[in-house]
Amino acid sequence: MRKISTEQVTEAVAKLCMDANYYIPEDVRRRIEEMRDAEESPVGKEILRQILENQEIAAEEKMPLCQDTGFTVVYAEIGQEVHFDGDIKEAISKGVAKGYTDGYLRKSILIDPLKRSPNSGDNTPPVIWFDLVPGDKVKITIAPKGGGSENMSRTKMLRPSDGVEGFKNFVVQSVVEAGGNPCPPVIVGVGVGGTFDKCAFLAKKALLRNIGERNKDPFYAEIEEELLERINKSGVGPMGLGGRTTALEVFIEQYPLHIATFPAAVNLNCHAARHKEIVI
């Protein structure tokens, strides 16, 4: 057994929360640059220019890329041979509170969903997904998720008879009908198969993939490329004001399904596609 202190986890999570909110991943920045160069709409080009300038200012001044520093989604892969000296859930939550307080990040979490109050004051609780894996390491990924793009996400129980075309149309429609609301250019996370909940989880997890990283199955990889092309022909454009740049990527994650079902989910991420990971 390898012992890991929960204090170390708290410190790591706090730093990840800050870094994820200040620094855009390099692959995302490069893709936005390429798409700015190709954008035909003058307004669209100017918006992409502002997005890139914003990334520079955020990094230089250690300010969050977006004021909506999100719901803190945490993926924790725990090696089976790891032993923690305390409560790992509490350690992660403490790290979120510390990161959001020390890092001047916005606290956006309301404790009671129906009363819509009070604000928890430190952006806790996070949403934590644990996974057990072989080995003696711990991998923690922080992905702050903004509300604007989350609101435009969908889960649908398609009918098996809807077929591959029905699935493709569902994904494209979800992005096009969202218009400017989710802050395009977006990253489109798609889950297909599994159960109602598993499918939505896959759509969110897909957002962690690196730009350009295709699905390992060539059949799905081809659909990803086709959907990206269709979405970028829609004309929605940067911030929905018209243009060629609507999505930076489409990522599909699939899972086996029940003979009677055909669940599909689309989770949109704005262009501030934030995520940061550490291996302890």
Partner: protein
């Protein structure tokens, strides 16, 4: 597409000359309000109470800023999605509001009020929050501090870059822009 420098409060003439696609650099006082604050403002109007700021010619920015780091007037401050304010905006426009800043399209009820009373909807770049913060020179909470990031703030802005997304004649860049760049 023209370019304008405008200072708040806005007059009906200021608003009526603006057309979809125009670039505007806004200066002067802008007030912040999101869903919760809008709900309260509309309830106050219904009860006949005095609002925390003068609506006449006002511009409201839909933003819940990040906390101000030391030495800065405000933290990152980009727009939030505007449709959530659609239920409240017509009442505020009928009572003198002239401008709204946010992201994403507005519904028909807001468009009708904009046409009738003379108001304009500006789009700011969502997610360009650190960049926009640079054009905000002063920020002060003037109402509902318990709403934290959603409190009403009085901002003093200088050359805040926005685009006329929906004008006072029913012009809608979300529709026109998409039609223009759509490939069948």
């Amino acid at each position: 597409m023209a370019e304008y420098k405008l200072t708040t409060p806005l007059s009906e003439d200021d608003v009526r000359k603006l057309r979809v696609g125009d670039a505007v650099f806004l200066s002067g006082v802008v007030y912040t309000a999101r869903d919760s604050a809008h709900k309260r403002l509309v309830e106050m109007l219904k009860r006949g109470e005095e609002l925390p700021f003068d609506l006449e010619g006002s511009v409201i920015y839909y933003v819940g800023p990040a906390p101000a780091p030391p030495g800065k007037p405000i933290g990152s401050a980009g727009p939030t999605t505007s449709y959530r304010m659609d239920a409240y905006s017509p009442t505020l426009i009928a009572n003198g509001q002239r401008g709204m800043i946010g992201k994403g399209a507005r519904g028909d009820e807001v468009v009708e009020a904009m046409k009738k009373y003379g108001a304009v909807y500006f789009a700011a770049t969502g997610g360009a929050a650190a960049l926009i913060a640079k054009s905000i020179k002063e920020a002060e909470v003037i109402a509902f501090p318990e709403l934290m990031s959603e409190a009403v703030r009085k901002l003093v802005v200088e050359d805040f870059p926005v685009i006329v997304a929906q004008d006072s004649y029913g012009g809608n860049m979300f529709k026109e822009g998409i039609e223009k760049y759509k490939i069948d």
